[in-house]
């Protein structure tokens, strides 16, 4: 160990700077208040400061930053969706992700792996061809491959799935990647803080003050803050926040569970997803297999884990990889997924002036972190949603103009 490091063992001075200031007392007033210190909220704060010069912003987080669904997803970034609106949107996000480590000056462990969505039935193959054509049309590199190409990319995979559900082909998506999810939140927090945004942890919003249809402030457990622009980026807590401003949404909360195995030597290069077997799996840079399955079958506002989930998931994983039978699951957890009926997010303005919503991220939120932050920042700064997210507006349900997005994770076709 170099001597210059050794001296810090006896010193109170620490050489590593904190990522962001430890803010405790909010000011009386801010230009904008962001509820929710997850990836989406912090990204919105970052782009408000960077793209629009609005730095008098407070991010209020009830727990700790990145402790919600940002730190609970399976870290997959991809854009092989089904609707042109969705593909364009998620593709813009992938493009931002590719340069994000450099932009935030933090290693996000962004790792391009290639992504296979396995098809076990003729109808699934039909959907894969459909998605491939939409993707190609929008300029995203996705195409249908046969069992031989899948075996070449992942020789460990039992193509017959133990005879249970033989794989007929897959949608291959070259840009599919994984990233370290906590680091995305930390990176955005660090850079937003550097530009003047204040981040408050353990700070809960208890009510939102609306006067004649306009937001005028928020009440928190650390006092009242007056502001005329509020962004709600709270995923599973969206219905509770919307109740405060009396806005109706179609969002229902179902837990989405995930788990990791003990670490292994690297063997799984790609990301594999099977809609029919309800499995998605990748290997983290630490060597763990990160695995997820489908949503819990009924509404609960809870992050409890269940044995049913690991039983179901591991039975399907061992159909695909019989040699994993002796590998141990070491952790499992859940996040509260805010689901919409059309599997597309809800973004933009609401009928309450100055209240903006970034919600309905169900099982597809992490990959959208950069682009949702960027587009929501623009929406807040200009009080007008950019064209890219117009089809995700809340009023689409009243207009009967849904955005049927069935390329989302853990959605059957």
């Amino acid at each position: 160990m170099p001597l210059r490091l050794l001296k810090y063992a006896v010193s109170r001075e620490h050489p590593a700077p904190r990522f962001f200031r430890d803010c405790t007392e909010p000011k009386k007033t801010y230009d904008a208040v962001i509820i929710g210190g997850g990836g989406h909220g912090l990204a919105a704060a970052y782009y408000l400061a960077k793209d629009h010069g609005i730095t008098n912003v407070a991010v209020l987080e009830k727990g700790y930053i990145g402790g919600g669904n940002t730190g609970r997803n399976t870290t997959i970034v991809r854009s092989n969706y089904l609707t042109p609106e969705g593909v364009n949107f998620y593709n813009a996000s992938v493009k931002l992700f590719e340069d994000l480590s450099e932009e935030l000056d933090l290693n996000l462990f962004y790792s391009n792996r290639g992504h296979f969505t396995l098809a076990h039935t003729d109808s699934a193959m039909r959907t894969m061809r459909w998605r491939a054509e939409v993707n190609k049309h929008v300029g995203v590199e996705s195409y249908v491959v046969g069992p031989d190409e899948i075996s070449k990319a992942c020789p460990q995979l039992d193509i017959s799935c133990s005879g249970q559900a033989p794989i007929l082909g897959a949608l291959y998506h070259a840009p599919g990647s994984v990233a370290r999810h906590d680091a995305v939140a930390w990176g955005y927090a660090k850079e937003a803080d550097r530009m003047g945004v204040e981040i408050f942890q353990s700070t809960e919003v208890t009510s939102i003050d609306v006067k004649s249809g306009k937001v005028v402030g928020v009440q928190t457990n650390k006092g009242y803050i007056s502001t005329n622009r509020v962004l709600s980026a709270v995923a599973g807590f969206t219905p509770r926040i919307c109740e405060m401003v009396d806005i109706e949404t179609p969002i229902v909360i179902h837990p989405l569970q995930a788990c990791v195995t003990e670490p292994m030597k690297p063997w799984l290069d790609t990301i594999l997803v099977s809609g029919s077997l309800h499995v998605y799996v990748s290997q983290s840079s630490r060597g763990e297999l990160v695995m997820g399955s489908s949503l819990d079958p009924y509404e609960i506002h809870s992050t409890r884990s269940s044995l049913d989930f690991v039983e179901g998931l591991t039975s399907h994983i061992t159909d695909m990889f019989p040699f994993l039978g002796n590998v141990k699951v070491v952790r499992q957890w859940a996040g509260m997924a805010d689901l919409t009926p059309d599997f597309a997010p809800i973004m933009g303005k609401t009928e309450v002036e100055g209240f903006y919503i970034d919600a309905g991220w169900g099982t597809w939120g992490f990959k959208a972190t950069p682009i949702s932050g960027k587009t929501m920042a623009e929406t807040i700064a200009r009080d007008m949603a950019p064209d890219m997210i117009k089809s995700f507006r809340l009023s689409r349900f009243e207009d009967y103009e849904l955005t049927g997005e069935k390329g989302a994770a853990s959605v059957g076709h």
Binding site: P239, R240, E248, P250, I251, E299, I300, S302, E398
Partner: protein, 87 residues
Amino acid sequence: MKLLQCPVNGIRPVSEFTYGGEYREMPDPDTCSDKEWAGYVHYRHGAPGLKKEWWYHGPSGTWFIAERNTLTDKVSRTYLYGQENKA
């Protein structure tokens, strides 16, 4: 929740049941506005609390109502549709 009381078959494992969503009163389609109808079709009471919900017992083909707290996942009572006061 591991067990659920079916009003016809008694207490059964929750794996025998299917969730049917929140119970909602349908507005009269002849008299309600398009906005009200859109609200009925799409919007839900997503905030946690005690709710009336549809549940289905698969093996016996029984639809019924459960009153369940969606925060604690505790069911306070179950009954067949229209028999709320008999239960």
